[in-house]
Symmetry: C3
């Protein structure tokens, strides 16, 4: 299996064939996790996790993925305290770290930093989030979770809920779902946090059906409800935030008799009550596990072979 790209910076670069290959490979990774002593396919390879902006959960997920493939990891987290951040360009850092490592995963607060990195990066590069820009492995693990939970992707009815305006994950996932067929979307958000025109244009262009609503209940009649955080820092009016954050909160009683699969990129900060966790609908912790499998798949396809 081979991919059409050397560096992974955005879901927009993925073809359907790439996506199918990655999904298939992610399923195979379960066998590697279960028999770690038999399969050290990336033994002797080194991943550099460069997190200019701390994101502990994403970093741990990438690192575990590499370790479970038999590889090793070098890490720089919270670069603000480090010499790397003082004056050196991203390009020079890539040239330097690319002498040490076989693959680089980078998180950076500035949109476009990943595109700058790959102009020179001498080894395969994964964008692990560039500010408000892209975070392709998140969208891929969301996709994997949908497929594992529902058995398919084509033809599903998917709700996206919460902050659709600033939520990077829902944008990336929507672009990725553009590769699939006969999907319907219900976009549930406060008026202030509607899906941006850039994304809805894309959906129209691709012939993806969608309706927009402020009614949270509509999400629960879909096959999948993708929940997101409503972040306080998006509001200038704090009372408006306090009002809205209470509207989009899922409780177990709302799921009685519902078949909807609940996804959430985590961390949650109140959007899903803990009484939901025990229900079969709750897929968000399995989603975290899928993140591990997906990152194993992506790293292995990009650096192995």
């Amino acid at each position: 299996m081979s991919l059409s790209f050397r560096h992974l910076t955005s879901t927009r670069q993925l073809s359907r064939a790439d996506t199918d290959a990655i999904l298939k490979h992610a399923y195979e990774m379960e066998g590697v996790v279960k028999n770690p002593k038999q399969d050290e396919r990336l033994k002797g390879k080194v991943l550099a996790a460069l997190f200019y902006e701390p994101s502990t959960r994403t970093r741990l997920s990438f690192e575990t993925a590499m370790l479970r493939l038999g590889g090793s990891v070098i890490t720089a987290d919270g670069f603000q305290f480090s010499s790397l951040y003082k004056g050196e360009t991203i390009e020079d850092t890539m040239m330097m770290v690319g002498q040490y490592a076989d693959i680089i995963a980078m998180r950076h607060p500035e949109q476009g930093s990943a595109d700058r990195a790959i102009t020179v990066c001498p080894v395969p590069f994964i964008n692990a989030g560039d500010g408000p820009g892209q975070h392709p492995t998140q969208a891929l693990l969301d996709l994997l979770t949908i497929q594992k939970e529902r058995g398919k992707i084509d033809g599903l009815h998917i709700a996206m809920v919460g902050d659709l305006r600033f939520g990077r994950t829902v944008h990336s996932l929507t672009y990725l779902l553009g590769l699939f067929n006969n999907l319907r979307f219900t976009l549930v958000s406060p008026k202030e946090l509607k899906m941006p025109e850039k994304v809805t244009s894309f959906m129209k262009e691709k012939g993806m059906q969608f309706e927009e609503t402020t009614d949270f209940a509509a999400a629960l009649d879909c096959d999948v409800a993708y929940m997101t955080r409503i972040q306080q820092e998006r509001f200038t009016d704090r009372s408006e935030y306090e009002r809205l954050k209470l509207v989009y909160v899922l409780r177990a009683d709302q799921l009685k008799g519902k078949n909807v699969t609940i996804l959430h990129p985590l961390p949650r900060v109140g959007e899903i009550e803990t009484d939901v966790d025990a229900l079969p609908n709750a897929a968000y912790f399995r989603q975290a596990k899928n993140g591990l499998l997906m990152r194993m798949a992506v790293i292995d396809l990009m650096v192995g072979g």
Copy 2:
């Protein structure tokens, strides 16, 4: 060998059988350290070291233990700078990291955090210190050191010296020593820093003999003297601190002709002069090595097999 528990949060949960099994296993770990290429028993397993509160020495000890067993490590240290600390509950963090790792060691500033963690943690969990609460592997390594230095535990005369009021390590160790027989204790501390009633009640209940004194010299006629730091932050009156910190200082000349074994959880900040280091009585650096062996034993028993 199997333990009576899945998660290790406190020395109070340990039975005598558990403790004996762990001590025995710790002795066996010396062979693993000496022949690392022959024994990679935890190859393919991942330890997550989650240090919400930095404690570099404890973290390095846990990490080395896992590495010397052939396993791998993921680490988050100094969570105050990280996304993990922002709003997410300990329970959700356990659910998430438990998808990646095979065992979790957690340090956290709040007492009771370990008990919250194990309500949901999907993999074996070790409390690596929860504020003023418990730190069971520290007590176990102290116990191992006593046994290795004195050849036995039953029947020993043990002095505890310094800050017995706030010193977490002396409390945990006392509870653990409650599993053994015919011990005598000499509790040496300033009046302001006496062993709390909670612990002395436990000792009375278990029939553990003890005397309390302010006289430092009394400690040096015991089999073991467990020294602790007197921490400045415990005092509102700085001059009182300055006076007391000079009272409980061990010098080499005081050990002339003495058979007492000196323990200290480290770091020391003046309680033991460096001229003591070269004496056979000084066991505190061997104690650090025993910490490695003990953590290897605990991790292996909890996750291996």
Copy 3:
């Protein structure tokens, strides 16, 4: 092959035989990097990277070196946030970490800290930079780069450019080059940042020819030009800094028809324009790769076998 020393704190301790052995071993490390699965010579060994002062690039280089030899790494970076830094002496930290690890690499802001460390360190120790003091593996990798780029060291004409007064790397390298024969030096710096008398005395004593100049162009007619940063913090007068930092800047057009090899310890902050990077003269990223090979060689010779 065996070295004449147990701990590496300064280039001044290296004999010509040591240096030749290390260079030879560094060449052999390329084979290890290329066939990592066949050669895990340090499997089961642990490197402790103790960076009291953050220096991410040096830390990642040491860590990768150990990992590519098949060993493992424990790390403490940015000790200011950690318990290790609170009150404990360097000596006690060495005694403690020396119970865990097989070799220690330490970076510390205070000159002389490495010399204190080795008075007690129970395992081999590498000075990874002690403030304005020494950083011997940097000088060794510079030497390796010169040899690889020019095919020899004896008889070369070497320019050192920029801040020769405070630049630790040029001092260490000069001492190391004192072991070789028939070298000529051109020392190019602003008057305020001339090579210190301590170093020029050494050169005279060793019979190393040198001339001092402020003329940047002189550097480009040498075999090797070792460029360094001019750091703002060295100047009390900011306008003087602004004037000088523009004087010593290398552009591609200046290298037309020149055979000079350009070295730089990185990071650069403007001393070398990026249009130089594509020229064959530009050796500074290969130099970073040589840093990995050199640290592999040093670690392997010090801890392996």
